[in-house]
């Protein structure tokens, strides 16, 4: 074996570089050859081959970062840098964002460096930029709009006949959804209700902007309206501040935000230790449990009983208490839109692969529907998706907020918290599909499953929308 390897390695001189570019990365899992940026074969690479190269390099790099062998990871990062580009094709963009995440992850081994780099970045990520990126995402892809349409439809159906409607938005940075709800309520045959919207958000400025827009719209439509701004993070939200009156018809809405409550102190600290403390055997145990649940339905007691410090807790205390306090408000409906992917596994490798597939679909979606040079697309990729990727890969513990989970797990969690499923209506599906048709791009689909909707790109579900009602005295 060894002689052959040496043979092959030898051949990686300049003479055979031109013959087969693929050979060069055949053995790269151990020690990548040092390619100069001027290697002629680089230019010869077609996008597909380059894409496959990138995937191979990314996986290897992730592996080394997870194992803590930073030198090797560094070598791979260098290679990837030659091929990746944030303004290239989908795979190149994905690679550039994932490598940034991996680099940050690798830097965790030197906590000083890691936090130094982060210190000016984390807290003060310009609000305007992030908000702009989200707006671009709203414009470029139909997902958010679909969520709004479906959620509003569900809320209106639940609130049929109510004179006073109270809506709580757990992440009220975008007034679009509520403008549309106002318009929908105006058209009710029995006339619009008195609408109260309580918006929760971390930053006061965004809330004020939302409040102003909504007040204008309500004024224009002549709907009695009230906006309650609650400046708070979700994880220390006091439900009393929501000012829900007893017996009020309450709707709770959360779009791509509830998962942040799943952040907990797991795996924080020394990343090397974190990886080692999620050993293979325990993962298979966890997997086995998952499988058990998948086949036997949910048995919440088993899950929580077996949640060791290392195995993934199904519902960290914070989420449980939050849901319990929401349950205490007796909402008529709670609509949850979440990313449909499992980015909350403790093991970095698994998370990496899951995230790779998920964001590949999202980047593909953008690649297919938006021109390459679009600045908006670049912003979405960098400031929205890129930040999510960085959080998923490079952060741990409380910092890791992007804890996406699949609908199945959300369903179990909601059930344990005393919420029963409220199937989304046929008409909601109709409206969603109509919106897609007028959006005009092929490839998007809305699928219905067990009363929940899945928003798909090319048949890969990317977002889930589900509604829940408060189970009482069942």
């Amino acid at each position: 074996m060894a002689p052959l390897m040496a043979n092959v390695v030898q051949d990686e001189g300049s003479s055979s570089v031109t013959s087969s570019p693929l050979k060069t990365f055949s053995l790269m899992s151990l020690s990548p050859p040092s390619l100069s940026p001027y290697s002629p074969w680089l230019r010869e690479l077609k996008s597909d081959e380059r894409g496959l190269c990138l995937i191979h390099l990314l996986l290897n790099c992730a592996n080394h970062v997870a194992a803590g062998s930073i030198d090797r990871a560094n070598a791979f990062l260098e290679q990837i840098a030659l091929l990746a580009a944030p303004d290239g094709d989908a795979m190149q963009r994905i690679a550039s964002h994932f490598t940034e995440a991996l680099a940050r992850r690798a830097l965790r081994l030197w906590p000083g460096l890691y936090h130094a780099l982060d210190s000016t970045r984390a807290v003060v990520l310009p609000l305007a930029e992030a908000a702009a990126a989200r707006r671009h995402f709203l414009d470029l892809c139909p997902f958010l709009r679909l969520s709004y349409v479906v959620s509003n439809q569900a809320i209106m159906e639940a609130m049929e006949g109510e004179r006073v409607v109270h809506v709580v938005d757990l992440n009220a940075s975008d007034p679009t959804q509520w403008i549309s709800l106002l318009q929908g309520l105006r058209a009710r045959p029995e006339g619009p209700p008195h609408l109260k919207i309580t918006g929760v958000h971390e930053h006061k400025e965004l809330l004020n902007h939302t409040a102003a827009r909504l007040a204008d719209e309500a004024e224009r439509l002549d709907i009695p309206f009230q906006f309650n701004a609650v400046v708070s993070r979700l994880d220390n939200l006091d439900v009393e501040s929501l000012r829900v009156k007893t017996g009020e018809a309450l709707a709770i809405n959360t779009v791509l935000h509830l998962h942040s409550l799943l952040a907990s102190n797991d795996g924080a600290g020394d990343p090397r230790q974190a990886q080692r403390t999620a050993p293979v055997s325990q993962l298979t145990l966890g997997d086995y449990l998952e499988k058990d649940h998948a086949t036997n339905g949910y048995s919440p007691s088993t899950e929580s009983a077996l949640s060791s410090p290392f195995a993934p807790a199904s519902s960290p205390a914070r989420m449980e208490s939050f849901l319990a306090s929401l349950w205490g408000l007796s909402p008529k409906i709670m609509v949850v839109t979440e990313q449909e992917s499992n980015h909350n596994v403790p093991a970095l490798n698994e998370r990496f692969v899951e995230a790779l597939f998920y964001y590949a679909a999202l980047f593909d979606c953008l690649d297919s529907t938006v021109p390459r040079q679009s600045v908006e697309r670049l912003r979405v990729e960098k400031m929205l998706l890129g930040e999510e990727i960085k959080n998923i890969i490079a952060c741990e513990g409380w910092e890791r907020k992007e804890r996406h989970e699949k609908l199945e797990r959300w369903a179990r969690r909601m059930d344990m918290a005393g919420f029963g499923p409220l199937p989304l209506s046929y008409y909601g599906l109709l409206q969603a599909r109509r919106l897609l048709q007028s959006f005009g791009c092929e490839g998007y689909k809305v699928k219905e499953e067990n009363g929940c909707f899945l928003l798909c790109w090319q048949d890969r579900p990317l977002f889930s929308i589900a509604a829940w009602r408060c189970k009482r005295y069942d």
């Binding site: 074996m1 390897m5 055979s16 013959s19 693929l22 055949s26 053995l27 899992s29 151990l30 077609k46 597909d48 496959l52 995937i55 191979h56 996986l59 992730a62 795979m91 709009r145 349409v149 509003n152 209106m156 159906e157 679009t176 549309s180 318009q183 058209a187 045959p189 293979v280 993962l283 298979t284 997997d287 449909e340 499992n342 490798n349 698994e350 692969v353 899951e354 790779l356 597939f357 590949a360 679909a361 593909d364 297919s368 529907t369 021109p371 679009s374 609908l407 199945e408 599906l429 409206q431 109509r434 007028s438 959006f439 005009g440 791009c441 092929e442 490839g443 090319q458 048949d459 579900p461």
Partner: protein, 506 residues
């Protein structure tokens, strides 16, 4: 039919369990003289007068009659239980016939069958009187079910998708049509007044999306809304012509709103690229089972082709070694020329074919068994992105490689070499086609299936093999098995792969 809850409502009711024969009997009262049957005793008595037989009309008894409830004799039926007994004799008879009886009555005009004659009579009154026919051929007698169906009809959707820009015009004009013609909607006056204003048109669009129907949840409201769906092409055209100026008005102005039409330029870009993508992706999606079967058989051929070509090279170079190591090396050194030509041809093909999406690349990579020597393999993500329960995509190597247990890193690398060489070198055209199948297969699997069994792809390199064996059946039709450390091809398996091809020429 009234159902009595025995335990609570009327515990004194008399529960009567009649036999099926009795329930089905049409004429229970038989004249002893001429054997004519009657449904009611009164009628029999009156008939007996004609035979000069003694007759007596039984008067309704004055004393209070106990309420009678009837049970269905069919043991599996809900109404077999006394607590769910039905209160009406005629009701229980009809129930028994409908649910547990033979459908003897047939409608002349259509193919519907009924067990109870009165049901057939009721049906005949409406059969064929009003008919709505969808383009897909389904007939409806009810207007509302017809309209709901049309919104979801696949046939219609396909038609619309075939004409993207035209569809867009029509749809947007439909929505406009909805708007202007929805006179029954209460908000129409407000909308009409704001129509010329371009901001108004924007919010109108928003409005349209969210309030297409005044009361979205009552089916009775649906018809006026849905009436503006394309009844026929003629009316379509009418709409689009009428509203063309509005449409362009909409498109030319940028606005924030729930329903933003994408910029025309972007739109055409999208449609052109996605149309191309459609060739490879969506066409597989729409025909799930057929694509899968086609895909399987073709993939066999492709895979075999890859291996065959490898063999040819080996043979051409006079190397009788069939180990992966030498194969790889030979291909690298001597076969460079041939491979380059292969590359060239495949490149030519590629220039015609659209670029592979990132998702497709990932699938291809997982197929090729691209793994790292730490165990994190694409199989996991691959499985996650599709469904786990049915046949997950194969992770077999390009040559139908079989992963062995406990391969050493070197073997892995050689396997990588082999697989990458085989797959990539032996024609990117097949690469693309394979992926096309992959996507198609994925589409059929992923459609409607979203729960991922992460367990099937655990990190353990040894423990999970049993599980993944069962699950990672090769959906491409090549007998490859996927493991997390997949791709390792031992000499034995390489031979197997080649031997397989020798036996199975395609």
């Amino acid at each position: 039919m009234a159902t009595t809850t025995m335990c609570v409502a009327d515990p004194d009711s008399e529960v009567i369990a009649l036999s099926p024969k009795t329930l089905l009997a049409t004429n229970r009262f038989i004249c002893e003289v001429c054997n004519k049957g009657f449904q009611r005793e009164q009628n029999l008595q009156l008939h007996r007068r004609g035979h000069n037989l003694p007759w007596k009309l039984r008067l309704k008894s004055n004393k209070e009659v106990r309420r009678r409830v009837y049970l269905c004799p069919e043991p599996t039926c809900v109404h077999h239980d006394p607590s769910r007994a039905l209160g009406d004799l005629t009701g229980i008879k009809k129930h028994f016939c409908r649910k547990h009886g033979e459908k003897k009555w047939k409608c002349d005009k259509c193919s519907k069958r009924y067990a109870v004659q009165s049901d057939l009579k009721a049906h005949s009154k409406t059969c064929g009187t009003r008919e709505y026919r969808c383009d897909c051929g389904t007939l409806f007698s009810r207007r509302d079910s017809f309209i709901t169906h049309r919104a979801f009809c696949n046939a219609l959707a396909q038609e619309r998708s075939r004409l993207p820009t035209a569809g867009l015009n029509n749809l947007s004009s439909h929505l406009y049509g909805n708007n202007t013609m929805a006179l029954s909607l209460s908000q129409v006056s407000a909308q009409l007044s704001s129509f010329p204003d371009h901001r108004g048109s924007g919010s109108q669009f928003e409005h349209l999306v969210s309030t297409g129907n005044p009361s979205p949840f009552t089916p009775s409201q649906l018809p006026p809304q849905a009436a503006f769906y394309p009844g026929n092409n003629g009316s379509n055209q009418g709409f689009s012509e009428e509203h063309q100026p509005h449409h362009s008005l909409l498109q030319s102005k940028a606005f924030h709103g729930l329903m933003q039409l994408p910029v025309l330029q972007g739109n055409t870009d999208a449609s052109s690229s996605t149309v191309a993508a459609n060739l490879f992706n969506l066409s597989f999606f729409s025909n799930t089972s057929s694509a899968r079967s086609i895909g399987d058989s073709n993939n066999d051929g492709n895979q075999n082709n890859q291996i065959l070509i490898a063999n040819e090279f080996n043979g051409a170079n006079g190397s009788s070694e069939s180990t992966t190591l030498f194969n790889g090396d030979l291909m690298g050194d001597h076969v460079g020329g041939e491979m380059n030509s292969l590359y060239n041809t495949s490149m030519q093909n590629e220039s015609i074919l659209p670029r592979m999406s990132a998702t497709a690349l990932l699938q291809k990579a997982a197929q090729m068994g691209l793994t790292t020597c730490g165990g994190s393999s694409l199989s996991r993500g691959f499985g996650s992105s599709t469904s786990g329960s049915l046949k997950p995509p194969s992770l077999g190597g390009g040559g139908g490689g079989n992963g062995g247990d406990g391969l050493q890193a070197q073997m892995e690398n050689e396997a990588h070499l082999q697989n990458l060489m085989n797959s990539l070198a032996n024609g990117s055209s097949s690469l693309f086609v394979c992926t096309g199948r992959t996507i198609g297969g994925l589409g059929s699997f992923a459609a409607g299936l979203r729960d991922v069994d992460e367990t099937k792809f655990s990190l353990s390199s040894t423990g999970s093999l049993g599980v993944s064996d069962r699950l990672t059946r090769d959906f491409l039709g090549v007998g490859g098995m996927a493991r997390n450390i997949s791709g390792g091809m031992s000499r034995r398996e390489q031979n197997h792969g080649i031997g397989m091809n020798a036996l199975d020429p395609k």
